[in-house]
């Protein structure tokens, strides 16, 4: 059972999402607990500073809590909260006018520094080019269908496919060297 399925589990006839919509704080807390890893990983692919990640996480929780009552389709809770986090990251980056520079050598560096398989897949994904990170994260960590990724990130399905394909090429090289 993945996180998404767990989050809409039935609890006394009602899902946590339904309960949270009715103002049940504990249900909302459970939802955050269940989704905190993906929210955190999403933030980590966009921001580098620990304090920034904490700030946007806090904003995401507050906005999700205030906005959950308006969520029309419960099954979209995960994509909805990820979208909130992405938007919060964008707001912060926009305020800072920060440009995320892509370091194409990071993946190579990781390979050199640790040639055994101790590196988390997330670190490998986070070392990919900016446009590949989020797609790959959602695809591998969340098993999110390509169509849903496209909708979440507002990019065409073809772009999702090509990004996953490019990411796989890069991951293939790294994995091959680790074997």
């Amino acid at each position: 059972m993945n996180i998404s399925e767990r989050s809409i589990k039935i609890s006394g006839g009602l899902t946590d999402i339904t309960l949270a919509k009715k103002g049940d704080k504990l249900a909302f807390e459970r939802l955050i607990e269940e989704h905190k890893y993906i929210i955190y990983r999403v933030a980590k692919t966009r921001l580098h500073c620990k304090e920034d990640i904490e700030d946007v996480f806090q904003e995401t929780i507050i906005k999700a809590y205030k906005g959950i009552i308006k969520l029309k389709r419960d099954e979209y809770f995960k994509t909805w909260i990820i979208r909130i986090m992405i938007n919060e990251c964008n707001i912060l980056l926009r305020k800072r006018k920060e440009i995320a520079y892509i370091d194409n050598d990071i993946a190579d560096n990781i390979k050199r520094e640790d040639s055994n398989s101790n590196i988390e897949i997330f670190d490998l994904i986070n070392s990919l080019e900016e446009d590949l990170k989020m797609v790959t994260l959602l695809y591998f960590y969340e098993d999110m269908p390509q169509k849903e990724i496209g909708k979440l990130l507002s990019i065409p399905n073809g772009t999702v496919r090509s990004r996953i394909s490019r990411a796989k090429e890069k991951l293939r090289k790294i994995v091959k060297e680790q074997m």
């Binding site: 996480f57 806090q58 969520l71 979208r83």
Partner: protein
């Protein structure tokens, strides 16, 4: 060569065997936030929602009347004949207006004004405030007085809307630009589709319920929103430039690759723009900001700027 399916399996196996770690500090912060969240009571009857929906519907009806049959593309195309601007530059203006109109710029003030739907609250993304002319001069690459002869709107990859304005220079204070030249400025805000506004961060202020698209709107609503044009306010609370505006601008050559070619952004957002009307120049400082509008006659402004620039040299 590792097969695609093998690679996927390898990665997924590694992911499932990974120990899920979470920063302790962040966990504490989350718990604090969750603890402080107010208890939300279920509403018995949503009067506020009904009022908001009624207001929103009224706005939509008004806007649909204004934009009857209009899409973003034909909004840009439908323009009335330009009215004359500065008398001195009227002849050259006409040629330029024709040129920019053919390139898709909106050249008529009335088109833009009638299209305004609603502003909204804003968050400043300015780095700092510029309270005096001296500070503005010190920070500027160019200081020009001129007339806006055409504007164009576009969205970036994050659905933020920008306005690109062509400004015909009638006076240049630091001689980096010549009189008669046309310079390009870009500002946050402008026209976009309602769909893009929904996707954009900060749309909450405009659409209330429709903050985030996924889960919050039905596919039908999303489809419909693609053909509705709305005014996306500037994020620093500024009033964006419109055709025929007479302005005095403090510009910085922009390093951000938003549009092609050389273009400028205003020093300190709204701080770096004076609007000129009836020989009075003043800055439009949004409510809640502490800077002064520095209102004065254009003659006084011109003299003071000339003086400050000469001292700077």
């Amino acid at each position: 060569m590792i097969e695609d399916s093998t690679l996927e399996k390898l990665i997924r196996d590694r992911i499932s065997s990974e120990k899920m770690t979470f920063p302790e500090g962040l966990d504490k912060r989350i718990n604090n936030v969750l603890r402080e969240l107010p208890q939300v009571k279920e509403k018995t009857f949503p009067w506020t929602v009904i009022v908001a929906v009624a207001a929103f519907t009224l706005i939509l009806i008004t806007s649909s009347l204004l934009f009857k049959g209009m899409t973003k593309d034909n909004l840009l195309a439908v323009v009335k004949p330009p009215q004359s601007g500065s008398k001195i530059l009227a002849a050259s203006n006409e040629k330029l207006i024709k040129k920019y109109k053919s390139e898709g710029y909106i050249v008529d003030k009335n088109t833009v004004e009638s299209a305004k739907i609603q502003g909204g609250t804003s968050n400043s993304d300015r780095i700092r405030a510029y309270v005096s002319l001296e500070e503005l001069v010190a920070a500027s690459d160019i200081i020009i007085q001129g007339e806006v002869i055409g504007v164009k709107y576009f969205d970036d990859s994050n659905y933020y809307t920008y306005t690109e304005s062509k400004v015909l220079v009638t006076k240049s204070y630091n001689n980096k630009i010549s009189t008669g030249e046309v310079v390009t400025f870009y500002e946050s805000g402008g026209f976009t589709t309602k769909y893009n506004m929904i996707l954009q961060s900060g749309a909450k202020e405009k659409f209330g319920d429709k903050y985030y698209e996924i889960g919050n709107t039905t596919p039908e609503e999303e489809e419909k929103a693609k053909s509705i044009i709305v005014y996306s306010h500037s994020y620093d609370g500024d009033v964006i430039m419109q055709p025929e505006d007479k302005v005095l601008l403090f510009g910085i050559e922009s390093k951000e690759p938003i549009i092609q070619g050389t273009y400028y952004s205003k020093v300190g957002g709204f701080d770096g723009k004076f609007n000129i009307k009836d020989d009075i120049a003043k800055r439009n400082i949004p409510q809640g900001e502490f800077e002064s509008s520095l209102e004065m006659t254009t003659k006084e402004l011109s003299e003071r700027l000339t003086d400050i620039v000469s001292k700077k040299k």
